[in-house]
């Protein structure tokens, strides 16, 4: 197909109007020639023979009349072995390679090959004469921890394809032709280990979508027990600045029980990404005994990087997630912050002079958010295996007020809501997930009925606390005071978790079950007190013991000793029945 050419007609921030000569498509990529730089952009609107090009770079120096070359390709990512451990910008430009080439600063117009030019040990699984369709595996290579399946490109939909030739096992360059296929009409394709896929289109080469029923363990008690996330599910973490959204996502990215974690640092601080990319290579993943970086991909389009590629970055991230899901893996995508992505849409919408909705966000904000989260899911693949993409997004609501368009649109589509509260973070109660307002539709690691009972005590304790603020401790009954203290204990011992303590920072399911049982027994115990000072003294001591318990290694001697202390302490106040 002949590529269309055009010329710049207008420039408004990063929105460039282009007059074009022959057919172009929406979301097609075009390059503006500015001196000896080529600036990449994406067509986001076409009217008559004018296209609005959202440019992924700063547009200083662009002049009316500058030449534009369209590519007849959609904005796409490269898929293939070598994606793991990479640090990309929103357009899949590898940032370390860019730094090696351009130094301290990002340089516009420099686009490097996303998939590194490596050689891989190749094992064919198809043979000459085999019939394949898009997405079928014809070979494998070992990519670090995983068997990376080399698949028929997902856009080769006019199959079936017959393997005309395939290379023998051996070491090949990632871009070498390793297999040739042909369809019934004689159309031929040479395949390498790499192909591209348009980022804004979901990859749907699976048999069926399954309900997300399996808990995705994060080793954070308040999440796994009270507000669980599921493999293939979605959740959001809204909260005012400083409430702990980023710290929570970083903890999750370390501990989550999945095969691959993709971190999309979308429009927030660069320094926070640096912490991940300096620390992860040094940290050992207890699941694999290998460096955490080996299961991580970072898409980094921080706040001072171009806004349009920020908009693209979440799609780049989710497309890579879907690609690995096709290999039967579980992927967790963490996006921080989806509000910055929404704001990028808002900026662009403003330049297009679209009719604004609430807070000037575009009318399609809700549907874009819904479409994005819909790309999560657990699926059954053609070969019967399952894979999943889980999406967790932070939301940064203006003024910390959840009654705003992005939070509200997100709440409509996600399966769990972890709302962070300023009150809790001010009180240094981390993680600052508000137990009273947050919710989850997924099932957790502990019997739901018992969790519900524990939760109801937290709620009751909160009500009593509100009352006490009015009537004082003096005006509260001993029974109510006990309930209040029980709720406080659940909070201090179970909901709060010290991310700086080596033991407490990540709590495996087994331990959560064990200590929850103890806590539950305590909550159910029939305790006898004469007066409130006695209640307070008892619970302070109990809390101290429970907190010490959180810092001891599971089931070692000290752990057991503290457990015995707790049992004895409770026994001193237990009312004998019968």
């Amino acid at each position: 197909m002949a590529k269309s050419m055009g010329r710049v007609k207008g420039v408004n921030g990063n929105m460039v109007t282009v007059e074009f000569d022959s057919a172009i498509a929406k979301n097609e990529v075009g390059f503006i020639q500015v001196g000896d730089e080529r600036l990449k952009g994406e067509v986001i609107r076409i009217r008559g023979n004018e296209a609005a090009l959202q440019v992924f770079e700063m547009t200083g120096g662009v002049a009316v009349g500058d030449q534009v070359e369209f590519t007849s390709e959609m904005l796409s990512v490269e898929l293939g072995p070598g994606l793991l451990q990479q640090i990309y910008d929103g357009l899949q430009n590898p940032l370390p390679e860019l730094a090696a080439q351009c130094g301290f600063f990002l340089q516009r117009g420099v686009y490097l090959k996303p998939i590194p030019d490596n050689e891989w040990q190749f094992t064919p699984v198809a043979k000459k004469g085999d019939v394949l369709s898009a997405g079928d595996t014809f070979a494998t290579v070992i990519e670090g921890l995983f068997t990376h399946q080399i698949m028929v490109p997902f856009d080769l939909v006019d199959g079936p394809w017959t393997v005309a030739s395939i290379k023998k096992a051996g070491t090949y360059h990632v871009r070498d032709t390793i297999c040739s296929v042909q369809n019934e009409r004689g159309v031929k394709h040479d395949l390498s280990m790499v192909f591209t896929w348009p980022v804004k289109q979901a990859i749907k080469l699976y048999e069926e979508r399954l309900r997300p029923t399996e808990t995705l363990v994060t080793k954070i008690r308040t999440i796994d027990t009270f507000l669980p996330v599921a493999k293939g599910g979605t959740y959001c973490t809204p909260g005012p600045f400083g409430a702990g959204k980023t710290v929570l996502q970083h903890l999750t990215s370390r501990n989550a029980d999945v095969d691959i974690v993709i971190i999309a640092a979308c429009g927030e601080r660069a320094g926070e990404v640096v912490e991940v990319l300096k620390e992860f290579p040094e940290l050992i993943d207890p699941r694999t005994g290998r460096s955490l970086m080996e299961r991580t991909i970072i898409i980094c389009n921080t706040s001072s990087m171009p806004v349009a590629s920020r908009e693209a970055s979440v799609y780049t991230a989710v497309t890579i997630a879907e690609y690995y899901r096709q290999m039967g893996l579980d992927i967790l995508l963490l996006a921080d912050s989806t509000s910055r992505w929404a704001q990028a849409m808002r900026e662009m919408s403003g330049r297009l002079e679209e009719i604004p909705g609430e807070e000037a966000f575009p009318a399609y904000l809700e549907s874009r958010i819904a479409e994005f989260y819909e790309r999560a899911g657990k699926v059954r693949l053609k070969d019967g295996r399952t894979g999943s993409v889980t999406i967790g997004g932070t939301v940064s609501p203006a003024g910390g007020n959840f009654e705003e368009p992005v939070t509200q649109a997100t709440l409509k589509v996600v399966g769990a809501f972890h709302g962070l509260s300023r009150e809790r973070s001010d009180a240094r109660k981390y993680p600052a997930i508000d137990p009273l307002t947050s919710w989850s539709k997924y099932s957790g690691v502990i019997d739901a009925k018992r969790v519900e009972e524990a939760r109801s005590i937290v709620f009751a304790a909160n009500e009593i606390n509100q009352m006490m603020k009015v009537v004082g401790e003096e005006g509260t009954s001993v029974a109510d005071y006990v309930t209040y203290q029980k709720g406080e204990l659940v909070d201090a011992f179970y909901l709060q978790q010290n991310s700086f303590d080596p033991v407490d920072a990540s709590v495996p399911v087994e331990r959560q079950r064990y200590i929850f049982d103890r806590l539950y027994e305590m909550l159910q115990a029939n305790l006898r007190f004469e007066e409130k000072s006695e209640v307070r003294a008892f619970f302070y001591q109990l809390r101290q013991n429970f907190l010490d318990w959180n810092n001891t290694a599971f089931l070692d001697d000290e752990f057991k000793a503290i457990e015995a202390k707790i049992t004895d302490l409770i026994a001193t106040k237990e009312r004998r029945v019968g």
Binding site: G271, V274, L277
Partner: protein, 433 residues
């Protein structure tokens, strides 16, 4: 080729349009009019209609005035000759020194590649316990002072600047009261810091567009000095004025406001400035200390709100003190493990006790009975506020830590403090029973 265009098509706010060809986005134009000459920069192109924002404001410009395009974007001179000098937002001298026209660099340059950043590692000492002990300032941090108007935020800024061990101070003043400008100048001069200071000053009576240029000018120069190995501290006061100037521009350009009149790109615009804070591996660094006044003491106002999402914490100035609640240095944990072994524990412990003191205060105000424990806390809170929080306190971190222990020992038994036994053994200033 510098063609002269002598038909101005429209004048709206500070934005003029002319019909011209071959003009580049962002390039400078020189507008000649009765009042003299003013620079302007191209902010929009629509076929042959070129929109420029006029730095000196469009007042007095007539449709028959002339525009000449210069073919280059906004630049600033960079050399050691800038030291001790004062400029306006366009880079013209405000003092009586010579104009600086050589060695020009572009302003508003590209972002640092995140892969080239390093984890911040050096504390900046200020002599203020509320900063050094409780929310340590770190080299390459970006951090604003959130303040109600009327608070001594500029005094605080000047004091930190003078005391900080940096090679260079760059002051970006936006909408400064003239008196405040004189205050900065005199204070820096008296302390001997002026010779390592460069100022870009926009005062409240100067044209709005110049206000918009100040951060970019200051940061471009700072970045160059940092690349040349200097530790640079950039002071930006008041960023709320900068945001208001952006608001004014956006409304002129008929942009749809997103929140209380501010443009939808407020966040990105602030971020692209604050993110200039950086520590260059093998060279110098840029640290940004700003002021963000909060209209109506409302931290949810769009300017402080967006700022809080961008910066690495904030110092919350209220009642002439840096409040422990609401203040945050997000980078403190990068450095406070290596200062003194009791730093972190004392920081947490003293704040928790101060929080309890606040609760006791509240109980007292509601007329509830004060227990013996409440009385201890009340004594503690008073000492803490007078000896730690007062802005006149000026002591090194180590002395502040020692003082912390003294205050604790004055008010509490060791077990009351919730501090680790080994630390108490080593540091408690009184005999322990």
């Amino acid at each position: 080729m510098q063609k002269i265009y002598s038909k101005i098509e429209s004048i709206v706010g500070n934005v003029i349009t002319v019909r011209a060809s071959g003009v580049k986005n962002g390039e400078l134009g020189l507008v000649s009019y009765k009042g003299g000459q003013s620079m302007a920069n191209v902010i929009k192109l629509d076929d042959d209609v070129v929109s420029l924002q006029v730095f000196s404001g469009a007042q007095g410009i007539s449709t028959g005035d002339q525009v000449r395009f210069l073919g280059v974007p906004m630049q600033v001179s960079y050399s050691d000759n800038l030291l001790g000098r004062v400029f306006d937002g366009t880079g013209s001298p405000r003092d009586n020194g010579p104009a600086m026209k050589t060695n020009l660099i572009e302003i508003g340059g590209p972002a640092v590649n995140p892969a080239k950043r390093i984890i911040p590692r050096n504390m900046i000492r200020t002599g203020l316990p509320m900063i050094d002990l409780f929310n340590t300032l770190v080299e390459s941090q970006k951090l604003p002072i959130f303040s109600v108007s009327g608070e001594p935020y500029n005094e605080l800024l000047a004091r930190i600047a003078i005391q900080a061990e940096v090679d260079l101070i760059i002051l970006g003043g936006m909408g400064l009261k003239y008196d405040d400008y004189l205050f900065f100048r005199d204070t820096l001069e008296e302390s001997g810091a002026m010779s390592r200071t460069i100022m870009f000053i926009h005062t409240a009576s100067d044209p709005t567009v110049e206000c918009l240029l100040v951060p970019d000018m200051a940061l471009a120069v700072a970045e160059r000095f940092a690349l040349d190995g200097k530790k640079v501290l950039v002071l930006l006061t008041d960023m709320t004025n900068f945001a208001d100037a952006m608001k004014e521009m956006a409304i002129t350009m008929d942009q749809v406001p997103s929140n209380r009149g501010y443009p939808g790109d407020l966040y990105s615009s602030l971020a692209s400035r604050y993110e200039k804070a950086v520590d260059f591996e093998g060279a110098g660094s840029v640290t940004i200390l700003g002021v963000t006044t909060m209209p109506g003491d409302d931290v949810t106002h769009p300017v402080p709100d967006n700022t809080g999402y961008i910066t690495e914490g904030q110092y919350y100035l209220k009642g002439g003190r840096i409040e422990p609640f609401g203040s945050l240095s997000r980078l403190k944990q990068q450095v406070n493990a290596h200062t003194r072994d009791d730093h972190r524990a004392l920081m947490d412990g003293m704040i928790k006790l101060y929080a309890s003191y606040k609760e006791s205060l509240e109980k007292r105000s509601m007329g509830f009975m004060m227990t013996e424990w409440d009385e201890k806390l009340l004594k503690y809170g008073d000492l803490f506020e007078r000896k730690m929080m007062d802005l006149s306190v000026n002591i090194p971190l180590e002395a502040a830590l020692d003082l912390g222990w003294e205050i604790l020992a004055d008010c509490f038994d060791p077990a009351d403090t919730g501090l680790r036994t080994d630390l108490i053994r080593a540091r408690w200033p009184k005999a322990i029973e």
